[in-house]
């Protein structure tokens, strides 16, 4: 069951504001595990600010006793598509079908080359990470 989902936006000092939001969410939901995108794989695909934010989030979560798991974009794709070749939108469609009540109406229209990415896609990116983690955990043999 999905407990919460959405997009938060920060106007000024984005990283500090983001950390404060993440800290509040950890305090509220007290998660055991946090799944994040691995932004430190070369060649870097994320801006330095995002990479720095990611590191700060990981440090914060670990300091609160939360286990942090990270997946690269490629690992996420491979978890869902046998050949690892599916598009981001195809993945978002799969997730929307998996959670029709919660997410189907949040799926933006397919992006055209001249369009900027809809902020709602961040929800599907986050869900892809969570589902990749769950798929990976199921693969693990029972010790």
């Amino acid at each position: 069951m999905l407990v919460d989902w959405g997009v938060k936006s920060i106007a000024k000092d984005k990283n500090t504001g983001s950390i404060a939001k993440v800290e509040a969410m950890i305090a509220h939901y007290q998660p055991d595990v946090m799944v994040v995108e691995n932004t430190s794989i070369k060649p870097f695909r994320r801006f330095p600010r995002i990479r720095a934010l990611s590191k700060r989030i990981i440090r914060l979560a670990e300091s609160r006793g939360v286990t942090v798991i990270s997946f690269s974009r490629e690992q996420v794709r491979r978890a869902f598509f046998a050949d690892g070749q599916g598009t981001k939108y195809a993945l978002a469609e799969m997730i929307a079908k998996r959670f029709p009540d919660e997410l189907s109406f949040r799926l933006p229209p397919k992006r055209r080359p001249w369009m900027t990415e809809d902020s709602q896609m961040a929800i599907f990116d986050a869900m892809a990470l969570v589902l990749a983690f769950r798929l990976k955990r199921r693969e693990r043999p029972i010790a």
């Binding site: 069951m1 999905l2 407990v3 919460d4 989902w5 939901y29 009540d101 919660e102």
Partner: protein, 109 residues
């Protein structure tokens, strides 16, 4: 062992219906979204009437919407049931047997 739940799932259910906190507050008969916000953040527990209004709005039972709170209450009732059983009721009539049966059932939940 049951999985620990959050005190309530009001936010998830509100988002599922794409309602804002102000809209939920209006349906609850509250002045603003502040009350709904406090319930969602586990700061305050709603009154019985408001809890039932949530059940009407989200079409989920109160025990489901307030899963964590329900678990807590269930545990506390079970503890009290054990205490009642321990207050040795030596009567052996059918009424006492029925009572013991009901309390035992409560104590093992």
């Amino acid at each position: 062992m049951t999985t620990p739940q959050l005190p309530n799932y009001l936010r998830a259910n509100r988002k599922r219906l794409a309602l804002s906190q102000d809209e939920v507050a209006f349906l609850l008969g509250a002045q603003s979204g502040t009350q709904a916000c406090r319930h969602e953040r586990f700061v305050r527990a709603p009154s019985l009437e408001t809890a039932l209004a949530y059940e009407v709005i989200f079409k989920r039972s109160v025990s489901e919407l307030f899963g964590g709170l329900y678990q807590k209450v269930e545990r506390e009732v079970a503890e009290r049931a054990k205490m009642l059983i321990d207050r040795k009721d030596r009567k052996t009539n059918r009424q006492s047997a029925r009572k013991r049966e009901a309390l035992t059932e409560l104590a093992i939940t």
